[in-house]
Amino acid sequence: MLPATVHAQLAALLPREALLTATEDTRPYECDGLTLFRETPAAVVLPDTEQQVVAILKLCHAARVPVVARGAGTGLSGGAMPHRDGVVLSLAKFRRIVAIDPLARTAVVQPGVRNLAISEAAAAHGLYYAPDPSSQIACTIGGNVAENAGGVHCLKYGLTVHNVRRVRAVTIDGEIVEFGGDALDAPGYDLLALITGSEGLLAVITEITVKLTPTPQLAQVALAAFPTVESAGAAVGAVIAEGIIPGGLEMMDQAATRAVEQFVHADYPLDAAAILLVEADGTPEEVAAEMAEVRRVLAASGATEIRVSRDEAQRLLFWSGRKAAFPAAGRISPDYYCIDGTIPRKALPRVLRQIEAWSAEYGLRVANVFHAGDGNLHPLILFDANRPGEADKTIAFGDRILELCIEVGGTVTGEHGVGVEKLRGTCAQFGTAEIERFLGVKKAFDPHGLLNPGKAVPTLARCAEFGRMHVHRGELAHPELPRF
């Protein structure tokens, strides 16, 4: 419930349709793309000007009401899950592409602009916005910045943090701040990097300047089949050792190719234990030279079949299966749970073997898709939430995969964020001192902890609770903390 005074103030500030409090109106906001975690907010506000955002934050700050900023709600870690006593601040009405400067190769956009809409608007100038999360038709740029979203082209073109120049935001006390600028750097600390991926904990974004990239003249993709996951993994290393940074470098295991093939008919080789998709882009000369080398390296690495796309239609067909992996998992199984860890590539065979063993142990099927170029793993655990205990088993299985990611030198989240989902993993990945500094950074921006509370950075008490349940490699995490 919202305090009556806050409700009255919001009602005075916003048009009637921009303030939702009835449960049937707020229910659509109860979760994001991670539907395992739900909460109904006290209210949803849909401002359409920065002044309204300032006013909303000021009055929530004064009344100590939590605020959860929200874009399209496509996030996969529960980062946009509402707070029961808080306000969801939807940026859905901030949909304007403010300016495109083709000569400077930048676009100024409001946070509610869809990722793909930026590329569509820039296409006339031969430019595009490079980061392409698989939800790019729906997800918004504000959410991309909040999560530091990735995509299939990150190895060559970078994550969101590499493609954003300037972020304009409002802090919880209603101050307007700008991080970065139109230049390639800014004075002082790199607060632009800090705000990127901060999951709505530091400020509410109202405008973004993104870098645009020249559209490659040509792109071609090679599809290669491998008899074992190990040989496919080794081929990835071999491509990179050859000095090639492909535009995209993806792996799918047999469970994944079989799952997608029934829906997209990409003609994937279904008898292969794993396939690789290797994309070369650039000038026609570059693509020809790179593709020749890629073919040679893949063949030398034991590929049983190599197909190179003849034209754009076939290139898109080869990619269609990869892009459809998540929906396909949703169609062959009542539910699926997407894990998002990053590992050093050399650890891939070990991690995949272990996942296979656990899959048998838990009796849960797994399809693996993998941003192989940058080591970002997405095992999709297939389960049925209606079967008693299966959701819990799935979460336990996921936690073990993430712990293994840490153990081999990786991280519990490559691109989906911590949200509410990875708080436990975050406790396992960081020590007490690091978490204290994170909490200190949060406090420097938001002393009362009102912006997206309970997300991204666990409290030490939370870690202690987890630690009590979880003994990692025989060591108790955070041993210096008092136990309950």
């Binding site: 000569l103 400077a104 190769r105 031969g126 430019l127 999560e147 990150c154 943090v161 590499h162 307007i176 701040v177 700008e178 139109d182 230049a183 390639l184 004075p187 002082g188 790199d190 607060l191 990097a193 800090l194 991926g197 901060s198 020249p214 559209t215 003249q217 290393g237 071999a238 990179i240 050792a241 000095g243 940074i245 650039g282 000038t283 000369e285 570059e286 030279a289 790179e290 990053t342 050093p344 590539r345 050399k346 080591g375 970002n376 030198g409 991280t411 519990v412 490559g414 964020g417 911590v418 975050t426 990945q429 960081f430 020590g431 690091e434 500094r437 994170f438 200190g440 950074v441 950075v457």
Partner: protein
């Protein structure tokens, strides 16, 4: 042995914190001229040196802060890789720690990214003497706030960089440098137009009525782009880019003799304006160097701000107008609070950034 060095660092920081004695953190001292003047007892990082881990197929190198930048680069070169941000050396003896702390990038920056774009993780000793690890050794990692990048370019005011993991990239197979006789206005326009084309551009430099352009990539692509661009070939292109990177180019002669050197980082399309002195323009128009008296500070800062950027008094005997562009009050407040969080006793390079008390 290495562990003992870090423990020594931690003990020293704790003592300094207890006594409130400032520490002036230093590697090779090759970039000591940059930033506000050092204050406090010298704290030399060079004993903590060596490459910890480097596997070319992982595209990641991890090294201790005291490792010579030249050693890191040589190791990478032998494996056919490099640091994409082309860090300036200015003089021999610079360390990896100093490269991270100053956050300075060279000619390739607009096309390949800056130091911060390649920092994957750091270990730092903060102002409480705690050894902290942020980020990691993998390409994609969004767990926790991005403190590794926050430390990059913070001039040691938030923590003493002890170790860093950096993304490496393959060396280009071929490079070529072309030169064009063009006015500064024309040069800026061309550099921006070419930057918007899918061409293997990797550096630009406008100086003395000429625009120099470097192309890097697969040999056929570089040849095709060179043919498309026209202009004349510069035979020893790499020497030019190294000279620009390290300020050994004749343009910087007066600055080397102590004249105030200004670094104007602006929107790449900002017009060429007569600011009272010749300019050397890099980064496709986004970086402009000039030698100008300190008294010009407010004029230069106003011009840079009007063009979306900021002006730094990059090197000068007398840094009295303030090295860095002043921050708006809200940002200055955030800087002061972040400084207080990582260095509550104000002992790490105090005043070196002179921003919000940092």
């Amino acid at each position: 042995m290495h562990e003992a060095v870090i423990q020594g660092w931690q003990a020293r920081v704790r003592e300094a914190a207890a006594a409130k004695t400032p520490l002036a953190i230093r590697g090779g001292g090759t970039k000591a001229f940059y930033g506000e003047a050092e204050q406090g007892e010298p704290f030399d990082t060079r004993a903590y040196a060596g490459i910890v881990d480097y596997e070319p197929t992982e595209l990641v190198v991890t090294a201790r802060a005291g490792t010579l930048l030249a050693d890191v680069e040589r190791t990478l070169r032998e494996a056919g890789q490099m640091l994409a941000f082309e860090p300036p050396h200015f003089a021999p003896g610079g360390t990896l720690g100093g490269t991270i702390a100053t956050g300075l990038s060279g000619p390739r920056r607009p096309y390949a990214g800056a130091v911060r774009d390649h920092v994957l993780g750091v270990k730092v000793v903060d102002g409480r003497g705690e050894l902290l690890t942020f980020g990691g050794r993998v390409m994609k990692n969004v767990a926790g706030f991005d403190v590794a990048r926050l430390m990059t370019g913070a001039l040691g005011t938030l923590g003493i960089v002890a170790e860093a993991s950096l993304k490496c990239v393959p060396q280009p197979r071929a490079q070529a440098t072309r030169v064009f006789e063009l006015s500064a206005d024309e040069g800026i326009r061309r550099a921006n137009e070419w930057g918007g084309k899918p061409l293997p551009l990797s550096a630009t430099c406008q100086c003395d009525g000429r625009l120099y352009v470097r192309l890097s990539g697969a040999a056929p692509a570089v040849e095709a782009a060179a043919a498309k661009f026209g202009g004349a070939e510069v035979p020893d292109g790499e020497a030019l880019w190294t000279a620009v990177r390290d300020h050994a180019h004749p343009f910087f002669a007066a600055a080397r003799d102590g004249a105030p050197l200004w670094r104007l980082s602006v929107r790449s399309t900002a017009p060429h304006t007569d600011l009272g002195a010749e300019q050397l323009i890099e980064w496709g128009g986004a970086l402009r160097w000039l030698v100008a008296p300190r008294a010009e500070a407010s004029k230069l800062r106003a011009w840079a701000a009007a063009h979306g950027g900021h002006a730094t008094l990059f090197a000068a005997r007398d840094r009295s107008p303030g090295v860095f562009h002043p921050l708006p009050p809200a940002l200055a407040g955030l800087h002061a609070r972040l400084k207080a969080e990582f260095d509550p006793h104000g002992i790490l390079n105090p005043g070196r950034m002179a921003a919000g008390g940092a």
